[in-house]
């Protein structure tokens, strides 16, 4: 590339237009800074003038200064410094008391709205956690309150708030004197010349402080200006290659672990609502399908925690192929039988959480969860990535107000503190550990995982070890633009927990309230599926989704290999697309050198079978797995428009098929032939069912959105 080309490219005009609001904001701030700079210049000039008047301006400008001047200047400076020190000391001490008052006041106004907290660059101990203080501000202290309130709006860099909860209420003897001092300036009462002078200096000081305060505010505004931190385009997803078509002759057995996460669906929904197609890597088809609840048959008895049903339907996108549906439904736990929960919330309060769809949403989501807890469940809160440490010691859910108070005091801000976020959380969980209860750490973040262990492998190992002691981990992602989805999934998997992505309060309600039992109560862990296909009846198969859950054949029986968990009330669906020997057109051509297996006729007793399904699972407190199995036969075939009992089953499989098709289309539709978004809509519309929460209707709208978005990009 020659110089000319390089210059051209670097000068090229492919730059978007800046937001009008951003421009206005920048202009205002810059003009403000300009004014500030002018005032400083003015002040310097004035300052010299005042001193000059006091001392007597010397005509000697050549730089020689009579000693007299220095003495006076030095004296004044010292005096001012002393006064400043005294005032600051008093004020600071008083401020310690007053802090809660202003925060209380503001709390009454707007709760949880994003305040202009500083961006991570302001090296401040963010996550300002304050102890509860319900003292009403003393009357007549308007000026002091004003100053304090202004200081509220931007944190002083050296302000250090200890995030402890049990702070005894301090006596308030210091208030009156300071108040008196600060109040007297306007009055200028006859308090004697000395104190009058003191007061005047204080007045000047306070005006200077206010200016400094204003300037600090401006610098703060530098960074955030009341705007929310916007992360864009840094979402990380694991690269996954879609499952390929496998020849039964070559690889008759397929093994994978169950997955109940739903993060991919939320992410997809969020992207489509923004008008963009989600990244292909962000789509995990199994998570889209599993987002929905399916009316699969429940387990017959409590001995077996879940029931697996299978069905076979024709494939809508490839003539001759069939779809093999495996549906697993776990039993739900009765409210009165629910075990106790010991929860520790490990919350990200870094600066980037300062957006309406992050910290406030997180707080509100946790409040929703709180409502579902029983009185003797315990809750603790630990924060990281800003302040670090315990915000709330393990508290019984009965003392709701305490927990709510702690949640409301959470503020996003500050940068990494490092410290012991996750270790602390687990330590608390250990402290309240109860073998018969559910002990879980709930990590809520927007993508920052600087929980105190920086090495990823070490973090995974730590979570795994803790899992073995019975403390599980679930991960909830908030916001977008900074998600480390891959890490989220890995940690949740290692921690025997759910990874979900919460983008709206509705989703929070779904994950934390409706699905509270499944999110919190595992009924089976390390659930693995293995399907062996019958070469006499099936030529090829392809597992749709579960690419990140693939297991080796020998892992199935190996109890040491970790796998997914099923929570109370969960449904899990897995779909294989199969090419039957009869009537199907295999994609993989016949081998030239190897004799075709189908020439050999196996025993007729398997002639009716498509495949054999085996499932291994462990009960939550066991280490040895149990095996259940069922064949998939021609008898499991259902018509698309079956009637009667089979109608429900048929409808649910149709719905699952539609969602699976959509997922595959979003990933590029490599195997779905000419199937289009319209086809998905048509199929889904026949299978909506009751849809009490509107999730299915929402899905159909999402498909419509995807259709128009993809149409725009000319696909």
């Amino acid at each position: 590339m020659d110089e000319r080309q390089l210059t051209e490219i670097l000068k090229a005009d492919d730059v978007p237009v800046a937001d009008e609001n951003a421009r206005k904001r920048a202009m205002n701030l810059a003009l403000g800074a300009f004014d500030e700079a002018q005032r400083d210049k003015e002040k310097n000039r004035q300052g010299i003038g005042l001193l000059g008047r006091l001392i007597g301006r010397s005509n000697n400008r050549s730089g020689r200064r009579p000693m007299k001047k220095w003495h006076l200047v030095g004296g004044m400076a010292t005096a001012m410094t002393v006064v400043l020190a005294v005032v600051t000391y008093d004020v600071a001490k008083d401020r310690g008391l007053r802090f809660e008052d202003s925060s209380e006041e503001r709390k009454l106004g707007i709760i949880g709205s994003g305040k202009p907290a500083s961006r991570p660059e302001a090296e401040r101990d963010g996550g300002q956690v304050r102890s509860p203080g319900d003292r009403a501000p003393a009357s007549g202290d308007k000026k002091s309150r004003e100053i304090f309130a202004k200081d509220e709006l931007q944190a002083k860099p050296d302000r250090r708030l200890k995030p402890s909860i049990a702070r005894p209420s301090e006596p308030a003897p210091v208030q009156p004197p300071v108040a008196a001092i600060l109040q007297s300036p306007p009055r200028h009462s006859g308090q004697g010349a000395a104190s009058g002078a003191l007061v005047e200096r204080l007045q000047k000081r306070s005006s200077v402080t206010r200016k400094a305060v204003g300037q600090r505010k401006l610098r703060q505004a530098d960074d955030a200006s009341g705007r929310y931190y916007k992360d864009v385009g840094r979402d990380q997803f694991q690269q996954i290659a879609e499952n390929e078509i496998k020849r039964v002759g070559d690889a008759p057995v397929s093994t994978f672990s169950v997955d109940v996460d739903t993060a991919s669906y939320s992410f997809m929904r969020r992207q489509l609502n923004r008008g963009v197609l989600p990244q292909k890597n962000a789509i995990r088809v199994e998570e889209l399908v599993n987002y929905f609840d399916y009316a699969y048959p429940l387990p017959a008895s409590r001995e077996r925690p879940f029931h697996a049903s299978v069905s076979v339907t024709p494939s809508p996108w490839k003539k001759g192929n069939k779809l093999l549906h495996i549906g697993i439904k776990g039993y739900d736990v009765d409210a009165d039988v629910k075990p106790r929960s010991n929860l520790v919330f490990l919350l990200d309060v870094s600066g980037s959480m300062n957006a309406p769809d992050k910290l406030p949403l997180m707080v509100n989501s946790l409040k929703l969860l709180l409502d579902t807890l029983k009185p003797d469940d315990t809750v603790a809160i630990v924060v990281y990535a800003g302040a670090a440490g315990t915000v709330l010691e393990p508290t019984k859910a009965a003392e709701k107000h305490k927990i709510l108070a702690a949640l409301d005091k959470l503020r996003a801000g500050g940068s990494t503190a490092g410290a012991a976020g996750i270790r602390q959380a687990y330590a608390l969980a250990q402290g309240t550990f109860d073998k018969k209860a559910v002990n879980r750490v709930i990590l809520a973040t927007d993508g920052d995982f600087n929980v105190g262990i920086t090495n990823r492998e070490e973090l995974k190992g730590f979570i795994e070890r803790k899992r073995k002691t019975g403390i599980f981990l679930s991960v909830f992602g908030f916001g977008q633009g900074n998600l480390n989805d891959h890490l989220m999934q890995t940690l949740a998997q290692n921690g025997n927990g759910v990874a979900a992505h919460i983008d709206t309060l509705n989703e929070a309600r779904k994950v934390l309230v409706e699905e509270a039992s499944s999110t919190l109560f595992p009924i089976a862990k390390d659930v693995k599926l293995q399907v062996e296909f019958n070469p006499a009846t099936v030529a090829e198969y392809r597992l749709i989704g579960y690419e990140t859950r693939a297991l080796k054949r020998e892992d199935f029986k190996n109890d040491k290999v970790d796998a997914g968990d099923i929570g109370a009330g969960h449904t899990v669906t897995a779909i294989y697309e199969i090419t039957p020997v009869k009537g199907g057109e295999p994609m993989i051509g016949a081998s030239r050198y190897r004799s075709t297996e189908s020439a050999k006729k196996p025993a007729t007793k398997f002639g009716e079978e498509y495949a054999f399904l085996k499932i291994r699972y462990k009960l939550p407190d066991q280490d040895k797995s149990t095996l259940i199995s069922t064949p998939v036969t021609v008898a499991n075939e259902i018509e698309s428009n079956a009637k009667g009992d089979a109608a429900v089953r048929s409808r649910e499989t149709r719905w699952a098929t539609a969602v699976a098709a959509f997922g595959q289309l979003l990933k590029g539709g490599k195997y779905t032939g000419a199937y289009s978004y319209d086809d998905v809509i048509a199929l889904a519309s026949t299978a909506k069912g009751d849809d009490p929460f509107g999730y299915r209707a929402e899905f159909i709208n999402l498909v419509r959105l995807a259709r128009s978005v993809s149409g725009r990009s000319g696909k």
Partner: protein, 180 residues
């Protein structure tokens, strides 16, 4: 309403405290700053933030402009430094691996505009010094010596940075063509 004023006069007025003059200057240069910021970081929201910071910086340091070069030449390093600081601060606060940013799944084509975009994307990921040298010399049109003054290094160092950057671009280009 506003008569066309010579830029230097405008700057002098702003330096002496004329608010309206400074505002006019800002209005003219906002887009320029934004363009520089965008070319550096490649993201609109980031560029807006950087531009905001740069405007504030400009307000505070406009007095330092000595009319020794064109205003743009003086402005360029100011914006780039703001951009660098901003990126550094942001990176420090996240442990995510910035190299692992998922790229949009776009097949490389030889088409002019797309090609330019790909080259720009690659340039943005170059090491900071090389990137800065490239920008100052090819985008701001400075000479190697001027760029050396800005970057506080020897002129030969600047030449070396440019040389390295172009070597990398060559190999990147070759790669693209192979798949294009």
């Amino acid at each position: 309403m506003t008569e066309p004023v010579d830029e230097n006069t405008l700057i002098k007025q702003a330096q002496s405290g004329d608010r309206a003059a400074f505002e006019a200057l800002l209005r003219t240069y906002y887009d320029v700053i934004f363009r520089i910021a965008y070319k550096w970081c490649g993201d609109k929201a980031d560029a807006e933030d950087i531009t905001q910071n740069a405007c504030i910086k400009l307000a505070r340091s406009i007095d330092r402009f000595r009319f020794e070069s064109t205003f743009l030449t003086w402005l360029y390093p100011l914006v780039i430094n703001t951009a660098k600081d901003w990126v550094k601060r942001r990176v420090r606060n996240k442990t995510t691996n910035i190299d692992a940013v998922a790229e949009p799944a776009e097949a490389p084509t030889g088409d002019g505009k797309v090609f330019a975009r790909q080259i720009m994307a690659y340039v943005r990921r170059l090491p900071e010094k090389e990137k800065e040298a490239l920008y100052l010399v090819f985008s701001a049109g400075m000479s190697h010596r001027e760029a050396a003054t800005v970057m506080a290094c020897k002129e030969s160092t600047v030449s070396w940075y440019i040389h390295e950057a172009r070597k990398k671009l060559q190999s990147f280009q070759a790669q693209e063509c192979r798949y294009g």
